[in-house]
Symmetry: C2
């Protein structure tokens, strides 16, 4: 399949189909992010959406940036099934571009559930994958990046699905983040074997057998500290963890800001510390994280945070480029082919 083949350096630039209509400030911030990435990165970008709206945010023609018309936009809170009746939505049209080989990756900052449903419908799963998973990347206390998955694609899954998340996550971390022999941990309520629900107990046994660098159960605080490169979670807990992190960071910085503004002395101090704050804020700003692939979809489909600002959109495009360049989908295909296929007996 051309769309996911590992690419050599002699080929044309990598082409990213970008959902121009998805996200809280679309299309303005999406177009601005695309312009930024198009200027700085060797990448061709197809802005998918309503041409008239997109053009109103484009100051001038850009060699490696073009528009592909899609008349509909799926709202952030629409049910995933919206993709069935909105075939001319930016999500479905963008996924078709990927399927037809006109793009190497599809990236959206829009409705994640709709992107997942549309991707399953349009591209399907990598052979042998039981359930696709959603990943979240975060900087850990060791100063490296960890990958948590699943963070919400599946609220209920079987141990075999969770064990496969490890296989897929490892392929990403090896290829894109270039960690050798990445460590794998299971998010749980205690370190000892036998902790957690029966799902977690059984997943532990599968991971122990399957992973050469399995570090065992890790608790919420250890995850943040960087106890593992790949952290496997049920999608329910993973989703709560990611949203909780966002909320905490937002609240903490909000409080800091309020207490700075409440006193001239504090304001003077904050001015002296502005370099420190900038670094901290950048490190913790989830809106700047970029994008993460849908693991197990047979094509490079990536989603970013709905609140992404210009910088995050540009960073998300660079992530999409890396995923294609590193051949992540092929790596997942190879990794999954080397293990027993997992059925999806109980699809959501």
């Amino acid at each position: 399949m051309q769309r996911s083949a590992t690419r050599g350096s002699s080929q044309r630039p990598i082409t990213v189909a970008l959902d121009a209509m998805g996200g809280d400030n679309a299309p303005a911030n999406i177009v601005r992010g695309a312009l930024s990435a198009a200027r700085d990165t060797d990448v061709d970008i197809i802005l998918v959406g309503r041409g008239r709206e997109i053009r109103s945010h484009l100051p001038a023609a850009q060699r490696n940036l073009r528009i592909h018309e899609a008349s509909e936009a799926i709202a952030m809170d629409a049910p995933p099934t919206a993709v069935r009746r909105m075939r001319d939505s930016s999500i479905m049209v963008g996924l078709e571009l990927l399927k037809d080989g006109e793009a190497d990756a599809f990236l959206s900052f829009g409705n994640t559930g709709a992107v997942m449903a549309g991707a399953l419908f349009t591209l399907g799963r990598v052979p042998g994958v039981g359930r696709p998973a959603l990943g979240a990347l975060f900087r850990n206390g060791r100063g490296t990046t960890s990958l948590l998955l699943d963070v919400g694609a599946n609220v209920e899954a079987r141990p075999q699905h969770l064990a496969q998340f490890a296989t897929m996550g490892r392929a990403y971390v090896e290829r894109v983040l270039r960690h050798r022999n990445p460590s794998v941990g299971l998010l749980n309520v205690g370190e000892e074997e036998g902790k957690g629900t029966s799902l977690h107990q059984e997943t532990y046994l599968l991971l122990e057998r399957q992973e050469t660098n399995f570090v065992g159960n890790i608790e919420g605080n250890e995850m943040v500290a960087g106890a593992a490169d790949v952290i496997v979670s049920d999608g329910f807990t993973g989703n709560v963890a990611v949203k909780l992190t966002e909320g905490l960071v937002e609240q903490l910085f909000g409080e800091l800001k309020r207490s700075i503004q409440a006193s001239v002395i504090h304001m003077a101090g904050a001015w002296l510390m502005r370099g420190a704050f900038r670094g901290l804020r950048a490190h913790w700003d989830y809106a700047k994280v970029g994008s993460a692939p849908l693991f197990g979809i047979d094509g490079a489909v990536l989603v970013g945070h709905g609140r992404a600002n210009t910088e995050a959109v540009a960073s998300g495009i660079r992530s999409a480029r890396s995923v294609v360049e590193a051949g992540v989908v092929d790596a997942i295909r190879d990794a999954v082919a080397g293990t027993a296929p997992v059925n999806d007996e109980d699809p959501d």
Copy 2:
């Protein structure tokens, strides 16, 4: 039952049996915290543990502070079943003091699982309670305190158990935090009805029927923002949420500290901002939170964080006093008696 009767102001001071051997820095920090609370608060404290070790941290006799000998100490990482063979442990002896009416509350900063197991064995459940739960109090974005439960007493529970957590949590919030008609939310992966696992879907329906001020599902970020006074969670997710919060706060302040120390300018700024930092740190320091009751145990049993410092131990003693004074156990008994009893068909 004398131990949990609502108390009038004319009676003797409230007596708290304190596990002197539990926690990361026991008995030193426990004794120091007890001294601080004994000086400032109208409370009698019984330090339960090895007299010789406790005395080495006691500078002088204190009128409202005494020692009750217990020869054993249950380690922080011992299995809960340790209480069965360690009947002369500070946990079991302290719980017996409560059962016998010599103390009005028992408080430990030690092994939570062992305290729960010992409390179930010694005091049992409030009649009609299916599963006791563990609560965590946190300051939310509205500047008030919310209660999350369960945070780890039950890794697997049924919808009826979770609905009962709401009843018990509400009694605490009404009596101790004095919120009128507190709002109740369900920690879930989306706001819409029907989100989450079957456990969460069924719990939603029960809470909708049972709670007059049910605000529905709340996501991780909304929990932090203060979307509800009482947040019901399965114990697995609640435990991960609490530990993740601790880890994040620790890492964020650690990074801030490092970036301050890396530059003299930043250090000067931080000095001007010290008031703001102190407030923020105090607000977010989980080690200073105090203690929370074991909900559903037929007696005032409270646990605090193992890393509690002197201040947190003193604050935990004051929390224990409030729980007795407010008659929380009676309130829970009354609230549960007004609803259908929940069986515990599948005890852990």
